[in-house]
């Protein structure tokens, strides 16, 4: 009987939740922080940090090209009442400016107090060099696809926690503890508990960011046992991928490859949106043949035909990957995303 009552009340609440003024979950939601995120991956991380204090939603869809999203009126109305607008920054989501401006919510304009560039202070790749001034033409502030490295994802989470605490100082402790918990879960998922206990995640993180994690793991001995033997989690799972040569369509996979030891040797598109010319394709085909490249990584929002054309001329295989949370069905959390990408890659190399 009690069960029936509970279900009945639940149904009633559901029915009335659409009626304005009825004090249900909607009224409770009103005192949550409304956090608009440009990308679903930021929404996923903001949800991990914010818990029940935050209502996070994403503007781009998971399978959409994060560089180009049409700023529609719906997106603008979505951020009109938002407290925060989280973006990666680094000129990845240039469309976010149009959405914010169109919403009329001046707190979220570029430079406003509610606008958060989550990649701030994260160690980046492909920053134009002070010495040679090379590179940097594609993404002038460095490669913005930082979220595919678990270490940098922790840094994103820390930045998000700081932003949430500033927006709601009363819950600062709550956000800090959830952020620490998220970092711990990422550490265990990535390195495995034993390796973290032996070496500490801070040191491991620095080696990932320096790009020499695998040399460090192989060359460091502790009590007569090489450190690599203690690796668990994604590090252990991704072992067959280490040193595998790959090329990518767009520079989305730079951070992922650094973290998981894939050897990225080339990029197909010369500039975003410009199809490669015949010599560029010939160069890539030669590169794939000479270096015995096995994999061509293409994000699922790009047209795979160019990559397939190259694969048809060589022995390489095309792997179409989601680079976002919600990029494919079933990929709901950050952990799902890395798990899913690893499974696809391992399947492609036949491990």
């Amino acid at each position: 009987m009690k069960r029936f009552l509970a279900i009945g009340t639940g149904l009633l609440a559901l029915l009335f939740s659409e009626i304005p003024g009825f004090p249900t979950s909607r009224a409770l939601a009103a005192d949550r922080l409304r956090v608009a995120c440009t990308l679903p991956v930021l929404k996923a991380i903001a949800g991990e940090i914010g818990g029940d204090q935050v209502e996070a939603f994403a503007l781009a869809k998971g399978e959409q090209d994060p560089h180009f999203v049409s700023p529609t009126p719906i997106l603008m109305s979505k951020v009109r009442k938002a407290d925060l607008l989280l973006e990666i920054g680094m000129q990845l989501e240039l469309w976010a400016d149009q959405v914010a401006d169109g919403s009329g919510n001046s707190r979220l304009f570029r430079g406003g107090p509610g606008r958060v560039s989550t990649a701030l202070g994260i160690s980046k790749l492909e920053i134009p060099s002070v010495i040679s001034r090379s590179q940097g033409d594609v993404h002038p502030e460095g490669n913005p696809h930082v979220w595919l490295d678990p270490v940098r994802a922790k840094a994103l989470a820390a930045n998000i926690a700081r932003a949430l605490s500033q927006a709601r100082p009363a819950s600062a402790d709550y956000f800090a503890s959830r952020s620490a918990d998220f970092a711990m879960r990422v550490d265990e998922a990535f390195y495995g508990a034993e390796l973290v206990k032996l070496a500490g995640s801070a040191e491991l993180d620095r080696h990932v960011v320096d790009g020499d994690l695998y040399r460090f793991l192989k060359e460091t001995e502790l009590n007569g046992r090489v450190l690599d033997a203690a690796a668990g989690g994604w590090l252990q799972r991704s072992r067959p991928l280490r040193g595998f040569k790959a090329i990518q369509y767009h520079k989305v996979w730079a951070y992922f490859s650094q973290a998981f030891g894939l050897d990225l040797v080339g990029v197909i598109e010369p500039f975003p949106g410009i199809p490669p010319g015949p010599q560029q394709i010939q160069r890539i085909v030669d590169l794939v043949r000479d270096q015995k490249v096995n994999l061509i990584l293409v994000d699922n929002f790009y047209e795979p035909s160019t990559a397939q054309g190259i694969a048809a001329k060589t022995a390489a295989r095309v792997v179409v990957l989601p680079s976002q949370v919600e990029g494919e069905p079933g990929v709901r959390t950050y952990f799902d995303l890395i798990d899913h990408v690893l499974s696809k890659l391992l399947g492609a190399v036949g491990a």
Binding site: D65, G121, K124, E203, R206, D210, S305
Partner: protein, 440 residues
């Protein structure tokens, strides 16, 4: 180089049928009908995508193709109905409206389906460089079929294009014949557009026909000339694309434009009653055009100089907001032993929040070996909580002759929570080589 043969062959196949159809299109004064039909076909495909069918899945391909073909026939029916008896509104206006409307609806549908914009782009852009032999052969087969129909019905089709009133007076059912014409035309266009893109298909359709009509008025000669123009421009465009490493489609388009403008000038001079004066005019025009392009070239910006102000730039880099940039500068300043480097690095150590930067700094300061660094190192030691960073700083202090380094190492070797940190500190105490953080 051998893989350019497939695209080149496709260009020749397209020349064969599009060059011929262009003669019809220009006679009918419906220059942009190909753009409109291609857009309608794309709309059909997008509708299928909207319904959840996947272009990439082989089992859905037939369904998607059927939608695209159905939409094309619908478009053909529209255009055959739109032919007005007394042309109050030009047919081009109607074609433009159909183009705009189908583009708009396509964007609306795309905003509700996944992978926004990408499907539309791939359908209307195409990359001729990557066509495969099976695709070329399939296109050739379709074109041979349509070509045969046009050979069998060449008389009614040309009568309809050249003199529709006369055709109607003779009792031809022009709506039906128009429908057949546009339907076959639509099939030809959509097959070509998916491989070569709208831009290139438009050029193949219009430029050879226009060139041929500039030179001759006889139909047979026009057809031969159109094929010749298409052939020349395909080859020239491929050559330009390969040797300049330009995208192939736009290169062929540029070749068409160059040939057409040259031919127009030549015909103008030849047909002129006073050829010398005309030639002079053309020459003056060419010089003016060249100047208009060349003069702004003088104002082209040169890339920023890489030399000079090297050390100064490095010092500035220490104030960058990017860790990577700071670390790069730290390594270079330590390597080059620039004057004042130890001081700037010490100041950075005092203000940095990052353990990673501190680790690199400690190593660099140890290399420089200047005792002025002891102060900043001691202060950094008090701030950090990370045992590995402490080890690095302690080693730097040791190298600079400060005794505190040894004490810190002993403490870490004894009581750190991390086994690896204990081992590292012990190794450092035994005088083992430290593990330098890698340069970028």
């Amino acid at each position: 180089m051998h893989w350019l043969w497939a695209p080149l062959t496709l260009c020749l196949v397209m020349t064969g049928l599009l060059g011929y159809l262009g003669l019809h299109i220009i006679r009918r004064k419906v220059i942009f009908v190909d753009l409109a039909l291609a857009q309608i076909a794309a709309l059909g495909t997008i509708y299928a995508v909207y319904l959840g069918y996947d272009l990439e899945k082989p089992e859905d391909a037939a369904f998607v193709y059927a939608f695209s073909l159905g939409a094309t026939f619908l478009g053909a029916a529209l255009f055959s109905l739109a032919r007005m008896r007394r042309e109050r509104i030009p047919q081009e206006a109607f074609i433009g409206i159909v183009y705009a409307a189908s583009s708009g609806v396509a964007i609306l549908l795309l905003s509700r389906s996944t992978g926004e914009g990408e499907h539309l782009k791939s359908m209307l852009v195409g990359n001729i460089l990557l066509v495969t032999w099976p695709q070329v052969l399939k296109t050739a087969a379709v074109y041979a079929g349509v070509g045969a129909l046009h050979w069998i019905w060449r008389r009614p089709f040309f009568l309809l294009s050249e003199d529709p009133q006369g055709a109607e007076a003779r009792g031809m059912r022009i709506r039906l014949w128009d429908f057949v014409f546009y339907a076959t035309f639509g099939v030809v266009i959509t097959t070509a557009v998916s491989k070569a893109g709208v831009l290139l298909v438009f050029c193949y359709l219009v430029v050879p026909a226009v060139c041929a009509m500039l030179i001759s008025e006889r139909l047979g000669a026009q057809l031969g000339l159109a094929w010749l123009v298409g052939l020349l421009c395909s080859a020239a465009g491929m050559f330009l694309s390969y040797h300049g490493d330009f995208p192939t489609g736009p290169s062929v388009v540029a070749a068409f434009a160059a040939l057409l403008s040259t031919l127009a000038c030549v015909m103008y001079v030849i047909r002129s009653e006073r050829p010398r004066r005309s030639a002079l005019r053309v020459a003056v025009g060419a010089v003016v055009a060249a100047l208009v392009v060349a003069i702004p070239l003088q104002a082209k910006k040169s890339p920023e100089s890489l030399h000079g102000a090297h050390a100064e730039r490095l010092e500035q880099a220490l104030f960058s907001t990017e860790e990577v940039t700071q670390i790069e500068a730290i390594h270079h300043l330590a390597e080059t032993r620039a004057p004042g480097a130890a001081e700037s690095l010490g100041q950075l150590l005092d203000r940095t929040q990052s353990d990673r930067v501190a680790e690199h700094l400690a190593h660099a300061l140890a290399t420089l070996g200047e005792s002025s660094a002891v102060g900043p190192l001691q202060r950094a030691l008090g701030r950090t909580k990370d045992d590995y960073v402490k080890i690095e700083i302690a080693q730097a202090l040791q190298a600079l002759g400060d005794d505190q380094g040894r004490r810190i190492l002993e403490e870490i070797a004894r009581s750190s929570a991390l086994p690896l940190a204990r081992a590292k500190a012990a190794q450092a105490l035994r005088g083992g080589a430290s593990d330098p953080p890698p340069a970028r």
